[in-house]
């Protein structure tokens, strides 16, 4: 999504009260090394508002039983709550139908589901899968495993020096053997927002389905799977202020119905004899075993919370932080931003001359500032930019300009230590 100047000015309006929002997050009151916690690692995992924590406690205290099984009060309550969460997720991404929303344990699980359920059935030797340099390992490794098993081939759309996918090169990769496209919506390593709608439209012209890894996108911008027209869209709950262990696969019903189940077990069947098993319909066909019920309900509450603030308001506030931090870091001698795409989410990957990212991480922690250091599960991105690792500050709607200042001050301090 692009942010106009009009939207941008809204960030300073009193409507978005970041201090009030921060008071919803008990963990943000913590002190680290006797300094206020400055949490700039939401791209790895975001924090949870009290409402979500309360919902987990309420569920375990008053609502817990297994779902889709018994007729007793608790089982019915748990089932209702779990399915209500599915409904919230459907609305959150504007999926046409609830049965197209499948609960998984996270993004990785969802991609593996598609690899096993779709890939192993429809991708054969000599077929080609298109990915981009920006993919997270979770959208590379499953496809490599498939390629190894079937003899299919992986082709990679490159990026320019700003970290933007070269669309001409992407389009040139298509040929008669192209069977699948996997693309990350927002790069976790660089923040690049990919033009997925355009990429999907092009793939569809060639009759190729597209999986969009939305793990970094859904927390930061309003996502409409019908508008994108993606075939699969996957994301995780814990980057959305929800619990870990829960994620979502959205898939077009027509595709999901053609696919083989990923895992076999309870709840995904209609009838079982030792001679023959009949699978359940979607979404249950893909939800074998007892799911993370509390986590799914908690994620539903997290989405209510985010929508009450407003995804557009969140995007505007985060964009303000991104612009503010980018301006300051760009002015710092010896500090380099990796990933300067025109269209970016609030992620800043950077390097500091003469200081290894791990030392940066340890010394920023000394100032209470939490950043991620390493390859961000995106080694091909690191290779593309010829760095072994970077430090990454990622901003959420509960971060402030003061926290950006703390990051800048922390970088100055560590530059002095290493001077």
């Amino acid at each position: 999504m692009s942010l106009s100047q009009t939207q941008f000015t809204l960030a300073s309006s009193p409507v978005f009260d970041v201090e009030r929002i921060r008071s919803d997050f008990p963990i943000l009151q913590l002190k680290v090394e006797d300094k206020p916690l400055v949490y700039l690692d939401s791209a790895a995992s975001s924090q949870m508002p009290q409402l979500v924590i309360d919902s987990l406690i309420r569920y375990q205290t008053m609502q817990h039983a297994n779902i889709h099984r018994a007729v007793h009060y608790l089982s019915e309550t748990a089932t209702t709550e779990y399915e209500a969460a599915r409904g919230k997720l459907k609305r959150f991404i504007n999926a046409p139908e609830e049965r197209e929303v499948i609960f998984t344990s996270g993004t990785t699980d969802a991609i593996n589901l598609v690899m096993h359920g779709y890939g192993r059935q429809f991708i054969k030797a000599g077929d080609e899968i298109i990915l981009t340099t920006l993919e997270h390992h979770s959208n590379i490794v499953p496809w490599q495993m498939l390629a190894e098993e079937t003899g299919a081939k992986i082709r990679v759309a490159p990026v320019n020096d700003a970290g933007e996918v070269l669309i001409d090169d992407y389009e040139k990769l298509f040929n008669a053997r192209t069977r699948f496209v996997g693309v990350i919506h927002v790069s976790n390593a660089l923040g690049t927002i990919n033009p997925v709608k355009q990429m999907i439209a092009f793939a569809h012209e060639h009759g190729v389905p597209v999986l969009v890894d939305g793990a970094q996108a859904v927390p930061h911008l309003a996502v409409d799977v019908q508008d994108l027209d993606c075939d699969f869209y996957v994301f995780s709950g814990h980057k959305l202020c929800g619990p870990t262990g829960i994620g979502v696969l959205y898939g077009k019903a027509a595709l999901l119905e053609k696919m083989q189940p990923f895992k076999g077990g309870g709840d995904m069947i209609l009838s079982v004899t030792f001679e023959k098993t009949t699978y359940n319909t979607i979404p249950q066909k893909f939800e074998a075993g007892t799911p993370a019920i509390a986590a799914a309900i908690g994620l539903g509450v997290a989405i209510d919370y985010l929508l009450a603030i407003g995804m557009d308001e969140i995007a505007v506030h985060e964009h303000d932080l991104l612009v503010y931090a980018t301006e300051q870091i760009t002015r710092m001698p010896g500090v380099h931003i990796i990933g300067t795409a025109a269209n970016k989410a609030a992620v800043i990957s950077f390097t500091v001359d003469g200081v290894h990212p791990h030392d940066i991480g340890t010394l920023l922690n000394e100032e209470g500032v939490a950043v991620r250091t390493g390859h961000h599960c995106a080694q091909p991105v690191m290779d593309r930019f010829h760095v072994p690792a970077t430090s990454r500050a990622s901003f959420a709607f509960y971060n402030t300009r003061n926290e950006v200042d703390a990051l800048i001050a922390g970088i100055r301090t560590l530059q002095k230590v290493f001077a």
Partner: protein, 161 residues
């Protein structure tokens, strides 16, 4: 929680900036590459024996300050030592880095004591010990054989450390 600034003291920063014995060793009799796949640190250690003593030792690679300083001070410490002495020092260093060495008891740690604080930073212990694991792997290598492909020296057991 440990004050990590205590770790980033002058001697470590100095060795990071001006690492001793940094570079290649021509005709090394022993060589190994250590890799920390979690952070991308990669270090190679090469050495030559003159009869029983480590005659020459060198390291190179991409790594953080803790790892580089540890490697630099390690090469300085083991030069001229016998294989046995170097292995004892390796065990003592690993024990210290993981908080298992009684620094009040007799030991060979010497100047390496600047790394004692790393045991309070669990995420950084591996950075400090990677060169020592690599040295140990090099002792068990022959000529141009590298351990790079198979065994990750990070997880190779050394003695009972």
């Amino acid at each position: 929680m440990a004050n990590s600034k205590a770790l980033y003291q002058e001697v470590i920063l100095d060795h990071n900036k001006k690492p001793r014995n940094y570079g290649k060793l021509t005709d090394a009799s022993h060589h190994a590459v250590g890799h920390n796949p979690l952070c991308g640190d990669r270090i190679s250690v090469a050495l030559n024996f003159d009869q029983d003593c480590i005659d020459a030792v060198a390291f190179e690679g991409e790594s953080c300050a803790i790892c580089k300083a540890s490697a630099s001070m390690m090469t300085a410490a083991v030069k001229g030592k016998s294989l046995e002495e170097a292995e004892i020092l390796t065990q003592q260093f690993l024990a210290m880095a993981t908080g298992k060495l009684d620094l009040n008891a007799p030991n060979k740690i010497g100047r390496l004591v600047v790394f004692a604080g790393v045991c309070d930073l669990p995420t950084r212990v591996k950075c400090a010990i990677l060169p020592w694991h690599t040295l140990h792997a090099a002792f068990n290598s022959v000529a141009s054989i590298s351990t790079e492909a198979e065994a990750d020296p990070m997880y190779a057991p050394i003695g009972n450390a």
